[in-house]
Symmetry: C4
Subunit: 234 residues, 4 copies
């Protein structure tokens, strides 16, 4: 069932170690079939070296129940599910503990847009959520992790398609995109821009945020109807 989605999710999971954004089993990728209302996700705690396409677990979006698969799905499955439910354009979700992004999450700081490398992928700062409360942590923790992300985007008026990344405070990054591959690329970009941002912040105390018109230029050079980067418009 949904063999090609499982294959796609499997391959995207293997990109995490390839891109150097995962240690041990600390990351997972899911992808969704919106028509069927089913998403495919990495099983919990399985090393990438031994992961097989048939290990990918299928989960029902509405009920959150496993519909196919021998293994337990990622313990972060309820977070993925909330993101799919609340952000209806998402095709895939990624969670990692990549080092630079986690450093910002631990410090409780957004990854501000300081340059074109950032603006090419994220249309503005990548926000950091509030810390979860004791109550949120002790009950339905992973679901509440999804909810605090949604609340952050709502409060800041952010479009998840334009800013496909977030830092959960005291925890780490979640990213997303139209496809599993693109969502993993966003996870890598986030870590790279967090690294650049970190070093820029150590070099100067000046406010280095780029102006809105630079965000507009670079983001729309690569996204939307007037994009002119790459070969698509050829």
């Amino acid at each position: 069932m949904l063999e090609s989605l499982k294959q796609e999710v499997y391959e995207a999971n293997l990109l995490l170690p390839k891109y150097g954004i995962v240690t041990f089993t600390w990351g997972n990728v899911s992808g969704i079939d919106r028509e069927r209302g089913i998403f495919a996700i990495k099983p919990s705690g399985v090393p990438y070296e031994t992961l097989r396409p048939e290990d990918i677990v299928l989960v029902d979006l509405e009920t959150g129940k496993v519909v196919e698969g021998e293994l337990n799905p990622s313990s972060d499955t309820p977070t993925h599910r909330v993101l799919y439910q609340e952000f209806p354009t998402l095709g895939a979700v990624v969670h990692t503990h990549s080092s630079w992004a986690v450093a910002f999450a631990e410090a409780g700081l957004p990854v501000e847009a300081l340059g074109t490398t950032h603006a090419d992928s994220f249309y503005g700062d990548v926000p950091v959520t509030d810390a979860l409360t004791r109550e949120e942590i002790e009950s339905a923790y992973e679901e509440n992790t999804g909810k605090v992300i949604v609340r952050t985007f709502s409060k800041l008026g952010l479009d998840p398609d334009a800013v496909p990344a977030v830092l959960v405070r005291q925890h780490g990054p979640f990213t997303w995109g139209p496809t599993p591959k693109k969502a993993v690329e966003n996870a890598k970009v986030l870590d790279v821009v967090a690294e650049m941002n970190y070093h820029a912040l150590q070099l100067t105390r000046a406010d280095c945020r780029v102006p809105q018109y630079l965000l507009d230029k670079h983001y729309y050079r690569k996204h939307g109807a007037h994009a002119y980067y790459g070969q698509a418009q050829k």
Copy 2:
């Protein structure tokens, strides 16, 4: 004698270069057979590329004497022995000079629990010991290194099973676990969380320690009777 333990310790030693937490021969792993009261440890100064399972040295826990092996055991053997004697649940001990952990040991600072990456493996801050005194260094240095670790855990009321890692001040990390493989994984986790912690500390002067209920949630998500991460409970 104890061929499977020697094989296990041999393989765990090879994980040190694989995980990028060792330079030259600056690391060693041991594992213990509690029933026989014998532990197996890397020989001193032997490069990982030429190490063979039969080079692993067997040491008597009670006397500290070599009971099998042609080579000298690690010069850190007396430290391993004290840890096995004083922390009776340990199945394996690891010592490295991994760069991020050493930086904290040199600065004399604990690796504070700043996020879930930390809490998944360590139930609270990874402590730093006092510096050894002149007398402790000049007599039975390696044994006293073990003792200052035990004293630190005692003074802080820490459970070595819950916090399977320590920084010896001016020196570097020791970690442990139920098996050699798990103890090496803890050595890698410690270096990764030290790296994240370092960058978070440079980004902000705010106190970023996570609250106790987050430690509880993440630590017990992966450990103990109610763990629900991974496939064990399936």
Copy 3:
């Protein structure tokens, strides 16, 4: 047409991932045939793993129009063109988003000449441009990126042969050289000296710029009629 130039530009583009100064497709190399007034450049958004010599696009220097090639040229083509037009000695141009150089570009700081590693390749500080204005960004953005580089060199009285690198503020590095290979080497050197410079700046607040006579010594040890580094003068 211009097969050997295309081959040379192709090979130089592959050096970007080899030298670790590119993520995804964030970099491009071009080379010019000055006699014919044609330059060869990487196509836009094509991954290095699948790039072929025949994919390299040929562009007319005077008109900026593609004269051969199925694919769109790099979106940065107008920047390359301005540099070739205004700096007539250039044989090749490189653009990357290498992490250390970008950090300085984001912080709006030049990479100062702090040592012989720098002086061996760059005869003085690598300058940072002004930020582009809203008008410059909204009209002919990539062309204006070239113009702000030229303006910076003119204002500072710099010789582009002696300082074959620049940081475009809020963006990243451009480097150049007599050949595509040499221009890519300059891109790598720039990232390495930016890394060294960053760490030196964190270690001390003293002014560490090297004196002019050290610049003279090291630069002319490797460049010009009296160079005595390497085998050329043998």
Copy 4:
């Protein structure tokens, strides 16, 4: 002539890229035959990938003239020669531009002994020289580089066998040892301890230098008649 020395020097040069302490051709290793008064050194500017044992150049210690070899010797040859002349116990000399060591050289700071990792190889701080004067740079620059190293050791009363490393201010590290392999290992250790030291210095303003008795313990654990690390004493 001196085939085995040339082979040894060749192999030690290849360790520089293997250990990740060299970019392009920015490093060189030499070794000496004290009986014949001849040292063997890397040719200038030759990439490590194409270097062959027969390319190694033989130089007369007394005259500084090439006695065998088709290629120009390293431009740093006069520095190596001064070190061999003034430090008569040296068997090999290494020069690199490794990133962490250069950062300290650029900042004009010694690499202080902050831990056992340092003390295992260097019996105290690794010193930084004064900057060369204009006159020293403009005449016999490379020879004067050797002289400022010797002057620094003399002024500080250091034994080059006990501290087999130095930072030349505004330039980078030179290390040495009894053999080419050991001298390259010292170059790697220096870069690793500089990295640890850098991070420790960013973490705290406390003075973290280790006491003399720790230096004594760790240095003499690995060196001299009472060493007990490794297998030599077995």
